[in-house]
Amino acid sequence: MPELSYLIAVLAICFVIDFALRGVPFLVLEPLRESDFVGRMAGWMPAGILAILAVATVQSASEGGGSRLAYALIASAITVAVHLGFGRRTLLSVSAGTGVFVLLVNLA
């Protein structure tokens, strides 16, 4: 367990940055609303950012040697298949992928 002062610093830093990211855009909305640049970025960023987060987290889950990379790829494929095959029900897809990964890591 890290020191309390470190934890409090983490909580404070994340609160300030997170709140600023969510709140400040409303304050500067009017000039930005017309901006072609921001409009384009808003259209381009989400899918790519989420894809990078997905790949990065799958990569870190697959670290640790052995067959973990294969397990992570199988669980990812299951997540995609369930999500596309069963009407994009996030709860179901996440449970299926996580369940398969937990089973493979602990039993296989």
């Binding site: 367990m1 890290p2 470190y6 934890l7 983490v10 909580l11 830093i13 994340c14 609160f15 940055i17 997170d18 709140f19 990211l21 969510r22 709140g23 855009p25 409303f26 609303r33 640049f37 921001v38 384009r40 970025m41 808003a42 259209g43 381009w44 960023m45 989400p46 899918a47 790519g48 950012i49 989420l50 894809a51 990078i52 987060l53 997905a54 990065a56 987290t57 799958v58 990569q59 870190s60 889950a61 397990y71 992570a72 669980a75 990812s76 997540t79 995609v80 596309l84 994009r88 996030t90 709860l91 897809s93 996440v94 449970s95 992928g97 996580t98 990964f101 937990v102 890591v105 602990n106």
Partner: protein
């Protein structure tokens, strides 16, 4: 409509998201315990930070006592997408200053997605009660998770894959049309480059590189547009 029925409607709208958020919060609470952190770290993060994916990442950073600068940059990059939610989120229906602050503070992916899917008919009571309900599912799930986690004799390995699976589903949901293909290819290339060039900080480097490449893309498209005009 009356205040009471607006609150009821807000809670009703929040339920499908809650079905996903409560179990994910539970997984988060389990992770906090398994990482060897005190139980209160789960609700503390879910109140101070309140951003599911970032909270999972923060646990892994806190466990290794990552430098505060790393924590700050991670927060900035992972949650930067929230900047764009202000364009469509109906915050203007909320008049009370405290309710307005709460609504902006609790503007999560889920809250945004719910309003984006159904843009009309929002009132202050409906919007804020929906957002409070979402945070209750999340914090409640986290508390249930730390409780279960402290009762389990041994940790369950691999539960952190819930975060990977969540990002995979969010990526799929954000990539429904052909328009997203260039962004996905650019993002994949940026991450592949970052993973080779900066293996210790592949995610941050990949995200930064991706934003830089998108700026270049914008400049090029603009120049082309001007040339055609």
């Amino acid at each position: 409509m009356s205040r009471r029925s607006e609150v009821r409607e807000g809670i009703r709208i929040s339920l499908p998201a809650g079905l996903g958020m409560f179990p994910l919060g539970l997984a988060f609470g389990l992770l906090v315990i398994q990482a060897g952190l005190e139980w209160w770290v789960a609700p503390a993060l879910s109140i101070a930070v309140y951003a599911g994916s970032l909270e999972f990442l923060l646990v892994s950073l806190i466990v290794v006592s990552a430098p505060l600068l790393t924590v700050a940059v991670t927060t900035l990059l992972v949650n930067f997408r929230h900047v764009f939610y202000a364009f469509t989120f109906p915050l203007k229906v909320v008049r009370n200053p405290i309710a307005k602050l709460y609504s902006a503070y609790s503007l999560t992916d889920e809250a945004f997605a719910i309003t984006a899917a159904k843009p009309d008919g929002w009132t202050a009571w409906r919007l804020v009660s929906m957002q409070i309900a979402l945070q209750i599912y999340w914090v409640g799930g986290g508390l249930a998770g730390v409780l279960i986690g402290s009762l389990l004799p041994a940790g369950i390995e691999g539960l952190d894959f819930a975060l990977c699976a969540l990002f995979i589903t969010l990526t799929l949901d954000a990539s429904r049309t052909k328009k997203e293909v260039p962004s996905l290819l650019l993002a994949a290339s940026c991450y592949a480059f970052a993973a080779v060039a900066f293996p210790q900080a592949a995610m941050f480097a990949g995200l930064l590189l991706f934003v830089a490449v998108l700026i270049i893309r914008y400049v090029i498209e603009r120049a082309r547009g001007k040339a055609n005009a």
